[in-house]
Symmetry: C2
Subunit: 203 residues, 2 copies
């Protein structure tokens, strides 16, 4: 597989959601049209798509359905990735029920919390287990992604614990910057950074 640059990878889901929003998905679409619809440069779109599709035709563009398929495959939406949530507070439970995750191939198997009061097992929702069961659960269920929604001061230790249990992809919503050994990807969902960009623009 060709290597896709991180920046391009971030744009692919944007293309995908744009294509899925189209009223008519039969027929073709050009990179120029996608770029116009999203407010991006046409060359950039073409280059990003060239990396994953390779079936663009001059004058006509790309077959929309094939492009959607290719994007979903590259983005892993067609396969299922198992994940767990650590921290069943307000944000954790909100994410547990976030309907879009299914579309993205992300399957939340369970959540974990130190507080026994939060542990529960409602039908139709992912169960919440005590944190002590994390290690066994990860080993038995091929968990690939750990989602951290604990308070800031506990986040790094939870992160370490996930890494110990062979989880190499971590998605952190706690307002701290986590890091882990090489080979482990940590995606820090940084609200403060977003605010910084916005307020910098205002001044």
């Amino acid at each position: 597989m060709k290597c896709i640059s991180p920046n391009a990878l971030r744009r692919l889901p944007v293309y995908l959601s744009y294509l899925k929003q189209l009223p008519d998905r039969s027929g073709n679409i050009s990179a120029t049209a996608i770029a116009g619809g999203l407010g991006l440069g046409d060359v950039q779109v073409r280059k990003d798509l060239a990396g994953i599709s390779g079936e663009g035709k001059p004058k006509t563009g790309y077959n929309i359905q094939n492009l959607i398929d290719a994007l979903e495959t590259v983005l892993g939406y067609k396969s299922v990735t198992n994940a767990v949530i650590i921290g069943a507070g307000r944000l954790g439970t909100a994410l547990m029920e976030y309907p879009e995750f299914k579309e993205y191939g992300l399957h939340i198997l369970a959540a974990f919390d130190i507080d026994p009061e939060r542990c529960s097992s409602t039908p139709g929702k992912p169960p919440v287990y005590p944190l002590s069961q994390l290690a066994v659960f990860c080993r038995d269920n091929a968990v690939k992604i750990g989602i951290i929604t604990v308070p800031a001061d506990q986040a790094q230790s939870v992160c370490d614990r996930l890494v110990e249990n062979s989880i190499h992809a971590i998605w952190n919503f706690a307002p701290v910057h986590l890091h882990a050994k090489a080979g482990v990807t940590v995606q820090n969902e940084n609200m403060a950074a977003s605010i910084a960009l916005l307020s910098n623009h205002l001044s």
Copy 2:
């Protein structure tokens, strides 16, 4: 004011939270130490800090408290920016009560929703008004940032409406890519992109 690159700007809040976590904030710290603590390169940290502080001394580093002050000033945490939330659903209400925003100088004045059932006015919480009152409220309250937490299909029209009301900084949590005319910054909080980066790393 010197211009800070967007990437550097995203790192500044990370430095700030690292410094605030230190057990002892008196005394000095070197760029090398910060870099080590965060898993970044020392040159990068030094360069980022040079852009905002300019008071690093060889051998000793930076005065921690001064650095915190400088970071908070640059990031706008010392001044207050007024914001409104459009969409008082689950995510919207979660953000309304997100305690970190205060720290970041972001003041959520109110939320708006089309559903009258969601409109309310509880003491101690930001009020939720009908969407029809948005224009007047924005004009009267110096609102600078609009936070969008409506469903995907309504997000772009809400965005356009905010722009019409002279709001030039928009923070979008709906799972679509919004865009606006030049001069308006749109920060798309893209969950799908984060998942893409994680699952790409796994494969």
